[in-house]
Each structure stands twice: as C-alpha cells, then as structure tokens.
C-alpha cells in the first residue's frame, strides 16, 4: 500500500475511526462510572474522619504512580485480556481525583449550614443527601472531569491488553514506524483522542451547569 496524505487517509478511514472513538469513549465512561461509585462512596465514608480520609487518599495516590504499562501487565494474569482489565485499570486511575474532590467538597461545606440542618432535625442521611452532597457536587463533578481527561489518554494504552478504542491504531502505527501509513495511523488515533477530550469538556460543562443549583454560582 502506498502512503497517502493525512487528510486522504482520514477520508478513507473516517468510519473506522468513528467506531474506534465511540468504543474509546464507552470504555472511558464505564470506567468513570465505576470510579465515581467507588470514589464518592469512599469519600462519604471518610470525610468526617481525617485519619481515614488521609489513608484512602494515600492509597489512591499510590495507584496513580504505578506506570500504566505495569498496571495493565499486572492485570493480565488475573483478568486476562480485553475489556475487563481495561475498565479495572482505568477505574483505578480515575478514583483519585474523584475521591479527593468528594472529600474536599464535603469538608468545605459551611459548618453553620450543617449545624442549622442538624438543629432543624435532619438525620445524618438527610443532611448528607439534601444538604452536603448538593453543596459538594460542583467540586465532585470537577474531579470527575479531571479523571475523564486523564483516562482518555491512558485508555490508549489498553491496546496492550487488547482493550478497545483508539490505542490499537496508535500501537500498530508505532510498531512499524516508517512503513506505509504508519504515521497516519498514529496521528489518526491522537486526533480521535483530542476530539473526544473536547467533547467530554463540553459535556461536563453542560452537565455541571444542569446539575448545580442556581443558588451556588
């Protein structure tokens, strides 16, 4: 096959790229959901206990320092190849900023607000769901957004464990660099990720606005 220009390449493969991008977005979204469930739950359980909060944050930060290749590699013997190890690894990376923002958000609720809620007879759960979570929400969603950007990039490495998404193109391009269309493959993958990042930004900005009370901004 002869090398073609990048735009020519895009024109010939845009439907494949779109499909890969959707796969990529899907796996990122699923990982975000899992990470949000874990991060918010851990945050809620620990925000009133500084020692516990410190401990879970330390663990989540430690995970982030593990190089992604190493983490994916570690997961192969346990979870094999494909979708599952991808979601697990991405979720691990996404937890930190969601957890940290949940704790910060909940801790920074004005104590006068929680005290008046308590004084009015709201139970602990009512305080959490009716008062503290809505007030911490803008901070939490900012954490999810940061995690989203982070794992959009990392997801490309999932190709190493035969994961879905744009990583496949990038890896195969890189492995035969100099060959026909190899650069186009890499660039196409990058472009897909960048476009996804922009789309995510817009969606999170919208979601943030729609789910945050008008009284808070």
């Amino acid at each position: 096959m002869n090398s073609m220009g990048f735009f020519e390449y895009l024109a010939s493969r845009w439907d494949d790229l779109l499909e890969l991008s959707i796969e990529h977005a899907q796996v990122v979204l699923i990982s975000l959901l899992v990470a949000t469930a874990i991060g918010v739950t851990l945050g809620v359980l620990t925000y009133r206990r500084p020692a516990a909060a410190q401990a879970v944050l330390a663990v989540a930060s430690a995970i982030l320092t593990v190089p992604s290749f190493a983490l994916f590699g570690l997961l192969i013997p346990i979870l094999g190849l494909g979708y599952t190890p991808t979601v697990v690894a991405l979720s691990c990376y996404a937890v930190l900023s969601i957890l940290r923002n949940t704790i910060t958000g909940l801790q920074s609720v004005d104590p006068a607000v929680t005290e008046s809620a308590k004084g009015m007879g709201l139970s602990d759960w009512q305080q959490l769901f009716k008062i503290e979570m809505p007030l911490a929400w803008p901070v939490i969603i900012a954490g999810i957004r940061v995690s989203a950007l982070l794992i959009l990039g990392i997801a490309a490495i999932a190709a190493y464990v035969n994961g879905p998404g744009l990583g496949g193109d990038i890896f195969s391009g890189l492995s035969r660099i100099g060959g026909a269309n190899s650069l186009n493959l890499v660039l196409g993958g990058f472009l897909g990720i960048i476009v996804l990042a922009l789309v995510f930004e817009v969606l999170f900005a919208l979601l943030g606005r729609l789910t945050t009370s008008r009284g808070l901004n």
């Binding site: 004005d110 006068a112 607000v113 929680t114 005290e115 008046s116 809620a117 308590k118 004084g119 009015m120 007879g121 709201l122 139970s123 009512q126 008062i131 809505p134 007030l135 009370s213 008008r214 009284g215 808070l216």
Partner: protein, 390 residues
Amino acid sequence: MEGVDGSNSGTKAMIRLENLTKTFPGQTEPAVEDLSMEIYEGEIVVFVGPSGCGKTTTMKMINRIIEPSGGRIFLNDEDVTTTNSDKLRRRIGYVIQQIGLFPHMTIADNIATVPKMLGWDKKRISERTDELLETVGMDRSYRDRYPKELSGGQRQRVGVARAMAADPPIMLMDEPFGAVDPITRERLQDEFLRLQEEIKKTIVFVTHDIDEAIKMGDRIAILREKSVIAQYDTPERILTDPADEYVENFIGAGASLKRLSLSKVRDIKTSEWPVARLTDSPDEVKELLRKSGKDYVLLLDEDRKPKRWVGLEELELNGVPLRNAGWPAVAIVEGKSSLYETLDTMITSYKGSAIVVDDRGRYESIVDFGTVLQAIEEMRPEENRVGGGA
C-alpha cells in the same frame, strides 16, 4: 410594672434543666457545671455572660446539638435527655448567628424544610411559607430567590422564619442579631419583640450584650464561668438590685439609666396642665393662667395637638396672634415612650418637662423632671431608698 417582678408563680416551666453538665472530650474542666434552671412558657429568657462562659454550650444542650455529659433536660415535664434527638429538634426552632441558610435552596424551600420532613401537604406548606414571609416583613416575591441574593438583614429574617416554620413551641436563638449592623439589629429586635407579643413562644436567647439582654429579656440569666448562674431575674430587678459585684460589673456603668429604658411614661404618674385653644381669645387665656396659678399655658390646635407655650408676658404683647405667641411646644413623648427617651427629650429641648400625647399626637398630660426622679427613687429596693420611699 410591679406585677412583672417577683417569683412568677403560677406560670408553667416549659424547659427544665436539672444538674446539667458538659465536659468536652479531652478536657478536665467542665464547660458547663451542674446547671439547674426553669424557663417559663411564653417568656424570652436571655443567657448573658462573658465570652467562653458556656452560654452556647448550655443552649445547644437543650436541643442536644451538644449531648450533655450529665444531668437531665425536661420539656413540658417530659424527659428528653435520651429521646430521639432528630425528633426532638423538629419541635424546637433553632437560629444561629451565622444563620446557615441552605445556599442551594430557594427561600421558600429553606423555610419549608421542617414542614416537608413532617409530611405536610404542598398546599399547606405553600400557605405557611407566604404567611411566614409576611410575618417577618418580606415580600412574597422573595420565595424563589436564593440566599446569596439577600442582604444580611433579610437572611436573618428568613432564618427566623425558617425556625418558626412548623410553629415549634420553643425557639433557641444564639446571638441571632449579632452579624448585622446596629441599625438593622435594632429594627430586627423591635420586630421580633412585636412578633413575640403575638406568638408567645418560649425562647432561649443568647447574647453577650447586656443592653440587648435588657431589651429582649422577660428574664435574664447572668452567667459566670462554667455557666454558673450569678443572677436569674427580670431585667428590672437585675438593674435595680444586682445580686453581687459580678452582676454589677457585668451591667456596667449606667445601670440606672438602663433601668429607665424599661419603664414607660404610662407607668408613672403624669400631671394635668392648663390648656387652651389657639382659637381662644388672649383674654380667655390670661384668665385661665391666673386661675391655674401656673406660669405658662399650653396651646392646642383644633385636633388637640400641642402647639405653643405662652406665659403672661407674651399675652401682654398686643397684636401678636396666639398662633405665633410664646414658643413652640417641643419635647413631646408618647405613653409608650420609655423614661429614658423622656429624660433625653427633656434634656435635649432644655425643658424641665415633656408633653405626653396619645398615638395620634393629641395632648394627654405633662411629665416633669421631678416625676421622673421620683419614679427612679421608687425603683430602688426599699433598703437603699434615700427618703424611705413614697
């Protein structure tokens, strides 16, 4: 005013604290030690004392925001020391200095918090919200605003409205007017006192400002360190008969003047004065003056509003109409004015007396310096009186 003083026998104790003690974890000294007191139904009781003496801690033990380490709390003779604290709190209105409105909820939703928890239906909640906004002097258009869109004074009003939403018989207020400017504070205080006339709640009110205590309190508890009661009495008695030096020092200078702010003109004996009409003839007025034996006559207009003072000299000046004779009648007070204001008026206007009018400005009587002095004398406890009293 004598009826207000005294033991208040016959009134029901709404809140009873028995040997209440709080020692915070990790501390050796208690913050509140062995406090026992009764708070009567329908009264405002003010806790006042120096910073750190335990006022807030004591108040927060009543709704168990702070759990006591010892002692008992009774509401209406029901022991609530260990009952479900969330349910307890829904029966007690709670207002704190920082107000703590929920910033993500509209004013209406803030106010509706407790009614919603109590399961009221939508219509009832909505009506109650409107009613409360009106009660605290705010327009209905504020319903859908958010707390950040209100002024400090308005937030404070909403805080009070929210605390009253489910009509709790008891309200706890910790320095509720502490965070607003002095003018707004005075207005909020006045409005709240007027409101209390109608709602007659049992209120525990914390402040460190003795003047606010005197103004707001039906009864004042002056506290020492660890919430030990130095004196628990009506403002009148605390001012005229402080229990000890601590209380005296706490009241500070000017106790007698503060005492004057508690008595009203209508409580003391005012005197008659010869009055004539602006439309009367000068000769008639002269005749009246001669007969009365006074030096001046007070001239009233057709609505009986005081207009001018005239003496014999001015009446002799021929050709001056009564309307312009003598000097203008200033120094006017109402029956509901305090003796403090009355004295102030007298001094400001260089007159040894003030004219008392009714709420429509019509002449009623005259109060003079001597009468006020005598009233002060009568406020003193018997043993301290100069001349043995009247």
